[in-house]
Symmetry: C2
Subunit: 206 residues, 2 copies
DNA sequence: CATAAATATGAGTAAATACTCGCATTGAAA
DNA sequence: TTTCAATGCGAGTATTTACTCATATTTATG
């Protein structure tokens, strides 16, 4: 358990400027990761990009992994908020409309930056944070599940728990495969993701 | 284009032992990448694991990226062969059977190692090889498309080109989301992938 | 203003690591 | 056997990079 504490924040901010510094560092880290990938993700470059000294960076993050973790949490937070906002609007008139709304919400947050997205995936697999990620995903999934259940009659025989594990993965895969093309085809990405989700949900097993 | 030549092999093997050395290096690289991720992917460790000297490694790979590229090509080659083998068996009695066969083929090759899979994704995004990857994927997709077309009547209104872009992504996403759990749930992974693909293919647009 | 706590600085250090080069060993052709 | 090219070796080098620490600056509080 000593490993975990090494990832926790080193200093709690007491003044405003310090939180601004922290935010600048996380944002710079995100920028660097998206631009240069894991290869270019080094603390000196990040501090320079953030316009702070390397010493300041290490006042807020005990080590490089702690910074990466903060970056991941930040992205996940945004994702969760986007989904929550979409869910707050309530279910659509039918299943297709509800699904399309959810896909749009997911896409709004989508990184057009495949370097960033894939780097985060890899670091999520490497760092000891699966439990935390599952918990976060679980909360978003619950809201999503409630929405879908409003159109239970339109769906095939679904195991809700399984669907909530599979569906987010499907959406992301469909979107990524079209949005990371050059040039990106965002309309197509949306349509394909909707088709995949609707197909999955409405399939009648014979 | 001077960048590309820097990724090409440094030496063509003339004797047997040299190809054995090269293979050992690529295999060791794969092992290290799967075990330690991109963080642990360094040439000294790879040479040690392969049981060869660091000098030998650099006789076959001009630099670290060239080795990574060889690793990626090797994996892709295996993937393509697995799909080709499955396709050679011809279409099944119905769409569901055909789809399940394809999913099984994809899973046979699936890395139970999420560190390896995500690392490759990230490096594919970073290295200048998108054209080559598209070409390889295109060839596999063609065989896949022919198989599916045998059951055209069971499918909804599909744009084949779009389907061949989306489907592999769906399969991988569905499989990964279940196979990377601990413990992995491979049966579930197969069922969910089949459901996603079948749903996508058979959906009737209203 | 005085004082202390909080925050910022960046030169410097130790370690990791990509890669070289001169030399040793092996294989094959003569 | 001789000879040369192909292959293998690994100590060594130059660079990168994670991280520290002594010091300077800013802010809050009285």
């Amino acid at each position: 358990m000593s490993g975990k504490s090494a990832l926790e924040p080193r200093k709690q901010p007491r003044q405003r400027r310090s939180t601004a510094t922290r935010d600048a560092i996380v944002e710079a880290a995100t920028h660097v990761l998206g631009r240069a990938g894991l290869t270019g993700f080094n603390t000196n470059a990040i501090a320079a990009r953030a316009g702070v000294s390397i010493g300041s960076l290490y006042q807020y993050f005990a080590n490089k992994d702690a910074l990466m973790l903060a970056l991941i949490r930040c992205q996940q937070e945004r994702q969760a908020q986007t989904v929550a906002a979409a869910a707050a609007a309530g279910p659509g008139r039918n299943l297709a409309e509800t699904v399309r709304r959810m896909v749009r919400a997911a896409m709004a947050h989508h990184h057009d930056d495949s370097l960033l997205a894939t780097a985060i995936d890899h670091e999520e697999a490497r760092l000891p944070i699966s439990a935390e990620l599952d918990a976060m995903l679980g909360r978003s999934a619950a809201a999503l599940g409630a929405l879908l259940m409003a159109h239970r009659d339109e769906m095939g025989d679904i195991e809700p728990a399984a669907a909530l594990q599979t569906l987010p993965a499907l959406v992301r895969a469909a979107v990524d495969s079209w949005a990371n093309l050059s040039p990106p085809q965002l309309d197509r990405a949306e349509d394909e993701a909707v088709r995949a989700v609707l197909g999955y949900l409405t399939l009648k097993v014979t």
